[in-house]
């Protein structure tokens, strides 16, 4: 098994990149940080499928491709089905002995945005995980359909302004809660499910390596700050992700075999959620006096969730 050393950043930086520059993602987009880190975390051959979304449309603009590996783009919903098909074929051909290079280690990875994971590809992903193919599904969660102009998705948190859940005189933005995809995937009994953040590079790389090593379907939700739709300065991507993990808006944790929950990052000083909200344009309206109750609600939910995670970690069930 070939895995890159991630003991420290200096050693990690000696890998040979397989995700090329001059893709057309926005400056400061966290998608490519996450994709680069996954591809750098291993030196096995990779077979990658990508759902339609920002990542797909920007990395394969004809006549260019940014992928130095086997890569396929198909419909909005079926990266999970495509990768399970590829994996099944690989296993069958290995059994029949028709592979060109049967000893080369291969890993199967699928990327999807939150739109294609939480909404459109949900059924396909659920099916692929239930069938138990050996692949890793990574959701690049930027909490809206950023590729088509920032519509709401079921990953958009309560109170956020999106182009189809607008904030104004009668509404404070999206009124529904964010779907808890990690719990849903853990309930499938997947061997490894995690929520990771790119600002904690080592935790993220370790999580990726664990998922790639684990046999069976793994699901990872990664926080991907979207400069365009969250409305912040591109240079602050990492700072904003820091705020996201330190306010516990995005707790970093893993669930093994659907039961064993481990919290991977505990902030030393938990910040109030206002700091995270105030850093983004999409929550600007929440600071008006009539919308203060929404912030209180968000804070209450975060506290309850953190309490729940800690109790589950302790109880090991």
């Amino acid at each position: 098994m070939a895995i890159t050393s991630i003991k420290n950043l200096k050693e990690f930086s000696t890998v040979n990149e397989r995700f090329e520059g001059a893709h057309l993602l926005c400056p400061g987009c966290a998608h490519s940080m996450i994709v680069r880190e996954l591809m750098n975390a291993t030196d096995d051959n990779l077979v990658i499928a990508t759902n339609t979304g920002c990542l797909e449309v920007s990395t394969a603009v004809y006549p260019y491709t940014s992928w130095d590996t086997s890569w396929i783009h198909i419909g909005f919903e079926n990266a999970a089905s495509a990768i399970s098909g590829a994996e099944a074929m690989y296993k069958a051909r290995k059994r029949k002995g028709t592979l060109k290079d049967p000893d080369a280690p291969v890993k199967f990875v699928a990327f999807g945005g939150d739109g294609s994971t939480y909404d459109i590809g949900f059924q396909w992903l659920s099916g692929a995980i239930e069938r138990g193919h050996d692949f890793t599904y990574i959701c690049l969660d930027n909490e809206n359909y950023a590729n088509t102009g920032g519509q709401r998705s079921s990953s958009t948190p309560i109170g956020a302004h999106t182009s189809t859940a607008q904030a104004g005189r009668v509404s404070y933005g999206k009124k529904q809660k964010k779907k808890d995809m990690i719990a849903i995937m853990a309930a499938h009994g997947a061997p490894y499910v995690a929520q990771l953040a790119p600002n904690k590079w080592k935790i993220m790389a370790k999580g990726f390596q664990k998922a790639l090593e684990t046999e069976g379907p793994c699901f990872i939700n990664t926080v991907s700050a979207c400069t365009t739709e969250w409305k912040f300065n591109p240079k602050d991507t990492i700072h904003l992700t820091d705020l996201a993990t330190d306010t516990l808006m995005f707790p970093v944790y893993e669930i093994i075999n659907g039961t064993e929950l481990n919290i991977l990052y505990r902030p030393k000083n938990v910040l109030p959620v206002e700091e995270y909200l105030a850093a983004q344009g999409r929550y600007k309206h929440l600071f008006k006096p009539e919308n203060k109750h929404v912030i209180e609600k968000i804070q209450k939910e975060i506290d309850a969730k953190w309490e729940y995670l800690q109790r589950r970690e302790e109880a090991r069930v």
Partner: protein
């Protein structure tokens, strides 16, 4: 009903003369783009400068025109921590053998993440206007800031 009204009679086809068009009914199998000139095994163990990139690889393209500001790198202050390397979204920080060598200005979009995550004092990566010459920028480098007490 007069002849040629129903779609099943290929009315539209005849009008456009599409029946003469070659290959309109052939299912295309998508587009294949080969990132390398030749078949390459074990890409993860070949350095980028030794790879036979094809014209389809975005490595051969440039997004330099996107930039308004550019990062300038000062080797004298750098501690090779590689923070900029791990968080660069555009694979534009060139690091070899645990050393930071410089910036790939063909692929850098000038987002400024590298300058933001640089931990040295003064920073070894600072954003300057795109038109600024690198020598002029290096001459203007700020002094070490004293810790506020």
């Amino acid at each position: 009903m007069s002849k040629g009204v129903l779609a099943t009679e290929k009315r539209g086809m005849r009008e456009l003369g599409a029946e003469k068009a070659v290959g309109w009914d052939v299912v295309t199998q998508g587009t294949l783009l080969y990132p390398f000139e030749s078949e390459l095994k074990d890409v993860a163990h070949i350095r980028p400068e030794e790879r036979p990139y094809s014209d389809f690889n975005s490595y051969t393209a440039t997004v330099a025109s996107w930039r308004v500001v550019k990062p300038v790198y000062n080797r004298d202050v750098c501690i090779d921590c590689q923070n900029c390397w791990v968080w660069c979204p555009d694979t534009s920080i060139i690091s070899r053998d645990k050393q930071m060598l410089g910036i790939d200005y063909d692929h850098c979009k000038g987002c400024g993440v590298c300058a933001e995550v640089c931990p040295t004092n003064p920073k070894s990566l600072i954003m300057f206007a795109e038109a600024e010459e690198i020598e002029d920028a290096l001459a203007k480098w700020p002094e070490k800031k004293k810790k506020a007490k």
